[in-house]
């Protein structure tokens, strides 16, 4: 299924079967959306291990609430909404995971040698994204890492498109400042 495309016929069939309690059909849905959901939660909470747990939690919630799902919007977006909520829960429980002030300082203080190391740079980017306010971070993650359109993000997060644009704009401005040394290298 391409990005932004609605649920395919095959997927709708799986959803209908899963609604009737077919666990195998739901397992197939999990298999299809596992990577995206784990990725969204990981970008939100910054810990792959926590992300897998939260992604599993998100799928369990999806199973429980599947009878209420209406295929007006793609299943992927619906699951992403649950995943972002699961990520917020993780963030609430794990507030100590990221020290925002420290992160912004380190990103600015990184030395020239460290900048040359791609892995190190990627890590700095990850930390800079984590230092964003959660509301802006989830919009940025859905746009930059999952490729959702403004409309899809608005539907997923249940916010107006104008809010999507302003949060995205804020996140990008913030990242451009905190990652300025790395952007200059590109």
């Amino acid at each position: 299924m391409g990005r932004g495309s609605p649920s395919t016929e095959e997927e709708l069939e799986l959803i209908a079967r899963a609604k009737q309690g077919d666990r195998h059909a739901f397992g197939e849905l999990v298999r299809r959306h596992r990577e995206g959901v784990v990725n969204v939660v990981y970008r939100m909470c910054g810990d792959a291990n926590l992300a897998e747990d939260a992604a599993q939690e998100a799928f369990i919630r999806a199973w429980q609430h599947l009878p209420g799902y209406r295929p007006r919007s793609p299943f992927r977006n619906w699951v992403y909404r649950i995943a972002t909520n699961a990520a917020r829960d993780v963030l609430r429980r794990e507030r100590e995971t990221v020290d925002v002030d420290k992160l912004s300082l380190t990103a600015q203080d990184a030395g020239p040698e460290a900048k040359l190391v791609g892995r190190e740079r990627g890590e700095r980017v990850r930390l800079a994204v984590l230092a964003l306010p959660p509301a802006s971070r989830e919009v940025l993650v859905l746009r930059e890492y999952e490729g959702l359109s403004y409309r899809e993000i608005a539907d997923t997060l249940e916010i107006p498109i104008g809010t999507v644009m302003s949060r995205l704009n804020y996140a990008r401005s913030w990242l451009r400042k905190s990652l300025a040394p790395y952007l200059e290298e590109l």
């Binding site: 990725n39 992604a55 699961a86 917020r88 990627g122 990850r126 930059e144 952007l183 590109l186």
Partner: protein
């Protein structure tokens, strides 16, 4: 973009709007005329072209952030989710019947209201006909006198207080008032009851709709649903946090 050429040229807000559209252009959100306008603007505005390049550079840099590594294989992930799935309660026939009843309740109320209105209307027509002497022959047992004497006590008392006697014109007025009072009272009571029931149904429908819309959002406010294996993982790790260090500054 403070040094944009439009700042000192005093070029109208249209250009300023185009500046803001550079982000939407970068994200592929523009179509048709708007897209052509922004493309034309970019062709002649170096500041906005530079802004677009910065957005592209940021997007490239963001992709350098590593994807989560050392994840469990997909099959294992699916199996673990499957193990943690709770039983979903099936709705009974009784619950389904209630659901259908709830959905058709407005139709029932509408029918009840229409029935009551019809009864009032027919009764009014019959009473007026009898009052003017039409159709009495079809109701041989109807006793107009009995109906005439059936004034409510409060109305009789009020007439007495006003110093009127129950004969002649006063009696006629009393009959009219008595019949009208009961009719209107019954009518109003029916309307209020049907209206209250209908608005109660509307309120419950709205609350239910809100609940359905907010389901995923409301879940964020709650603690995770306990499941048979919640808090433990099928791969034997208590929570697996030993695999990944916390982000270090």
């Amino acid at each position: 973009m403070t040094e944009h050429a439009t700042d000192w040229l005093g070029v109208p807000s249209e250009w300023r709007r185009l500046e803001k559209d550079v982000g939407a252009y970068h994200d592929g959100e523009l179509r048709g005329r708007r897209l052509r306008q922004v493309e034309a603007h970019l062709a002649e505005c170096p500041t906005c072209r530079a802004e677009l390049e910065r957005l592209r550079a940021l997007a490239t840099l963001l992709q350098e952030s590593p994807a989560p590594a050392d994840l469990m294989p997909p099959d294992r992930f699916v199996a673990q989710v499957g193990l943690r799935l709770p039983r979903r309660s099936e709705r009974t026939v009784w619950q389904k019947g209630l659901e259908i009843g709830w959905r058709v309740a407005p139709l029932g109320l509408l029918g009840a209201w229409a029935f009551a209105e019809t009864v009032f209307f027919v009764a009014g027509v019959v009473l007026i006909a009898l009052r003017v002497g039409i159709g009495g022959e079809f109701l041989p047992r109807f006793r107009w006198d009995a109906l005439q004497s059936a004034h409510p006590a409060w109305l009789v008392q009020m007439v007495s207080l006003l110093g009127l006697d129950l004969s002649g014109a006063s009696e006629s007025i009393l009959q009219v008032l008595s019949g009208w009072g009961w009719g209107v009272t019954l009518h109003l009571v029916t309307l209020v009851v049907v209206g209250l029931l209908y608005f109660s149904w509307l309120a419950s429908w709205w609350a239910r709709r809100q609940h359905q819309r907010m389901q995923p959002a409301s879940m964020s406010a709650s603690t995770p649903t306990p499941t048979p294996t919640a808090g433990s993982r099928a791969d034997g790790r208590a929570d697996g946090r030993d695999r990944y260090p916390r982000p270090q500054s």
